[in-house]
Each structure stands twice: as C-alpha cells, then as structure tokens.
C-alpha cells in the first residue's frame, strides 16, 4: 500500500490543479473540460465506455501477445546468425518508422473492418522494441559462461534455454514494457480507421466520434480509459517480470 501512496498523491494534486486552472480561467468545456465534468461524462456513458474498453483491450492484448511471441522468436533467430542479423535487422527498424496513420487504410483493405485490423495495427506498432531488446539481451551473454557451457558439452538447445534466454530475460522484459504501451496506441489508431460504430465501437472510435460532436468531456473520459489500459498492461508486465526474475536478478530486487 505504501508503494501506491506517492503516485496517488501526485495524481490527486494534478487533478486539483487541472480543476483549479479550468475554473479560474473559465475555459470552455468544448476546449478543455475539468476533471469533475469528465468524471460526470464517464458515469453518464459508462456502458459505451465499458464496451469500448473491452474491445480495445482485446485488440491491444492480442496484438501485444503476438508481438511478444514473434518478437522473441525473431530476436532469437537474428541473434543466432550475424549474417541474418545484418540482412534482416534494418527492415525491422523500418517497422518502427513507418507511419501507422499512412498504412492504416491499407490494413482495412487487407484485413477488413472490426477486431482483426486493430490487432494487426497493435502488432505492427509494438513489435520492434521486442525484437531489438531480445537481440541485445541474447548477445549480452557473458562469454565466460558461454565457454563454460561449451566445456561441459552442452547442446545448442541447452545453451539457449538454460543460459542465453534466462540471461536475456531482463532485456526481453524491458522490451515488453515499451511494447505494452505501444500496443494500446496501435489499437487505438487502428480503431480510428477500422472500428465499427455503435455497440461494437472501440475506445479509438469513441474518441473520434465524440470529438466530432464536441463532447470533449466524453472524449477525455475515453482517452483516460485508454491510458488506464496502458497502465494496467504495463503493471502486468512488471508483475510477470518480478515473478520470473525476482529471486535472482539485480534489477528486480529492492536493494
């Protein structure tokens, strides 16, 4: 509990300042609504927001899971061969720089509307950090330990699963932490282009729709929920990291 206190205090202070500034300067609701107004809008539209949260969470989680599996596998493949790394890695960098907003309409043509293009969008945006960090982690194995394994006649698989992968885990999780947040962004942006409206509307579509209707308070509520989703995924990754690394790695210990 005492770990949660500092961020909660910061949050409360920030909300109070926000509310104060909006009231003091009489900022128009269409421009920048106060937290109290946003909270009211969230309560009034709880159903749509809950449904949207569920859909976006599904898209982001699925996209993240895909990028975790594919990213680690690709990172491992690139780590195994320097030639392969030189041949393929520049194109994974391209993944990071391609502007999602430009390719999103293409995603719709290839994958249709609804959940599938949203998952692909989340996947594309969140893949690169996993590949890059996995690659670095696998390559950072202590050469002395590598020699030790060879001295004992360990097989390639033994070396990978008992030495390289565990040694790389902290880096892999560093990649996951970045990737989780990006997956949420990817899902939201994908929804701008591909989400159905009405009961099947993701948070991204709700934001776009409410902004167009000048319901800025509702849009802020949806954005807040999207941030919450990112936070929850980040927390889950951290929790998992603690579970797997807690007993033996310096980064997970409270020294």
């Amino acid at each position: 509990m005492k770990r949660l206190l500092p961020p909660m205090v910061t949050l409360l202070a920030a909300l109070l300042v926000w509310e104060g500034v909006v009231r003091a300067f009489d900022v128009g609701e269409y421009l920048f609504p106060a937290p109290s107004v946003v909270a009211q809008a969230a309560a009034d539209n709880a159903g749509a927001l809950a449904r949207g949260f569920g859909l976006t969470a599904l898209g982001a989680l699925a996209g993240f899971a895909l990028s975790a599996v594919v990213g680690v596998a690709l990172g491992a493949a690139l780590a195994a061969s320097r030639t392969l790394e030189r041949a393929v890695f520049p194109f994974t960098v391209f993944l990071q720089t391609v502007p999602l907003v430009a390719i999103a309409p293409l995603l719709v043509i290839w994958f249709g509307y609804g959940l599938r293009p949203v998952i692909v969008s989340a996947f594309v945006v969140s893949l690169f950090p996993v590949i890059a960090n996995t690659l670095v982690g696998l390559r950072s194995v202590d050469p002395a330990l590598r020699d030790l394994f060879r001295l004992y006649g360990a097989s390639r698989w033994d070396r990978f699963f008992k030495l390289e992968l565990p040694a790389a885990l902290p880096n892999v999780f560093a990649g996951f932490r970045v990737s989780a947040g990006l997956a949420v962004i990817g899902a939201i942006v994908g929804e701008f282009f591909a989400s159905y409206a009405g009961d099947d509307a993701g948070l991204g579509l709700l934001v776009a729709s409410w902004i167009k209707q000048y319901h800025t308070d509702r849009a802020f509520a949806a954005v807040g929920l999207a941030s919450l989703l990112g936070l929850l995924m980040f927390g889950a990754v951290n929790g998992l990291s603690q579970l797997l690394l807690g007993r033996w790695h310096a980064s997970a210990q409270e020294r």
């Binding site: 128009g28 609701e29 309409p105 282009f193 409206a197 776009a208 167009k212 000048y214 800025t216």
Partner: protein
Amino acid sequence: MTRAPLILLPLALLLGCPGEPAGAQATGASGATKVAIQCNWLPEPQFGGIYHAAQAGIFAKHGIEADVRKGGPDIPAVQMAAAGQVEFALAAADEVIRIREGGADVVAVFATYQTAPQGLMTHGEREVATLEELLQAEGTLAVQPGLAYVKYLEQTIGIKAKLVPYQGGLGQYMASRESLDFAQQCFVTSEPLAAEREGAPAKVFLIADSGFNPYTSVVITRRDYLERHPETVAAVVAALQEGWRAYLDDPSAANAHMHTLNGSMDVETFSAAAEAQKPLIDTGAPLGSMTLARWEELQRQLVEVEAVEGSGKPSDCFVSSE
C-alpha cells in the same frame, strides 16, 4: 553570447513565439484589416466564392485582407474559430448548435448552401432505389464518426448497414467494386463526380430529402469578435456575397486557382462540381441569408435525436444580413 547552457535555447525559442491575442485586429500593408478564414475541407467548389473573392480582389475592395486557409479531415476549423485562433471558419449549422452547447459563443454570418449537399453514395450497379432502401440493406456504410445526420437517419429511418469510419477520398469505394455492398458519405457535388471519372459511377441520395437539411458551409465567427468589429464582419459578408455571385456566374478562374492547391480532383471535375452545386446555393433567396425558421427546425431535429440538449436559443446562432 552569454554562457547560458545550450539547453535553454529550445525554451527560448518556445517562449519567443508570441501568438496573436484573440480579438486583436492586424492591419495589412495598405491599411486593410487582416482576417483568417479557416476552411473545413480541401479547396473545392464548396469554397469557390471565398477563393474567388480573395483572388479577384473583392475582399480588398471592401478593405479586407483575407487569408483563406485550406482545411482537411483533421483540421478542427470550428474549434479554431471558437478559440479565437482564426477570425472566421467554415462549419455546418448542426456543428454550430452543438459547439454552442459546449460553451463556445460562435455565431453564423453567411450560409453558402441553402440545400445541404451531403449525400450517401453507393455503386451504380447496386439494387437500391431510395435512401430508405440503402439504409435498410445489409453491408457497410462509411461515415465520419459522430455526424449529426447519421444520428438523424438512425432514429428516423433506421440503419441496418454496419457503420465504419470514412477515410476520405474514394479508396474504400474503389476497393469494394467486387462486393458492391458498400456505401459512403459524400458531398453530392464532388465524390460522385470523381467516381464517375474513375469509371465507377455511383448512385447518390441527398440527405436533405430525408427532411434533415442544415445550412452547410456556414461562415462563423466569435460573438465577441462580431460585437467588437461589426464593420469588419459586414465587409466580409458583403465580399462573400459578391464573390459567390461572381463564382456562380463564372467559376473558371477560382477553379484553376483551387486546383493548384488541391490536385486530388482534376479540372474537369472542378467545373462539373461547380455546375452541379448551383441549384443548392442559388435558390432565389439572397446569397448567404438564413432564416430563424430553418435554425429552429434544425434545433428541434437535433433535440429529437438527442444530439443536443436544446438549451440554447436558435436566434442566438446566427445573424442574417436581412
């Protein structure tokens, strides 16, 4: 050069860019009043009269130096005007009512279209004959999320098609040539004409035929700007009336100019669109004029479909030159 750390340089750049305070009037080189007019879409015949007035010196004749800025799907023209970033902007009448309820005191001064040019278009080969049939058919309907007329149609006719986001242009339309079960929003004067040129002629249904007919391409300004500079607003409105009359008579010059700013439509489509929109603009009433009855009906319709609460007075939404 002082020995201040280099890191302060970006901060200095940020602080050193003063914005124009809202409501202040800039004066151009010749003493003309500078105003910015923020369009809410790319340069197309729907803004023909405005561009013509700027190019042909009509604004200048009225003592105005007009900076006509092109818009697009992601440019929040209405919010920019409401926040005072630009003196004038283009909006649809329903947007005016909605943003007024959100706390922005903007007022309409000139209505380009007496009949709203919004429509729904689908493939010519598709077996639908009326707006009702289109909405009741299965398939997808691509519209910008949050449009008022979509809410109206949902409540009055009912929409069976699945609503998806409209991405602009004809990309989604052309991609659905095989399945045909796709429809999208359009301005009846532009996208259908472009579709015909692409070899995929469309069936078009005017939204106004459903009874929902807000003034469209309405020029708005902030009420406090109107109260502080009534002569400027009057001059701009007069210039717009002249500019539109001249554009309706001969759109070729303005079209050529707009085409250099917006290459996504070819020149033939520009002139076809300019021709097609004439009956929607020039209906016998003075160009740009608005009536209280139309604003009252629009508010009533928006309240009926719960797009607005109806707390504002329709008479506050506009000033007519009549």
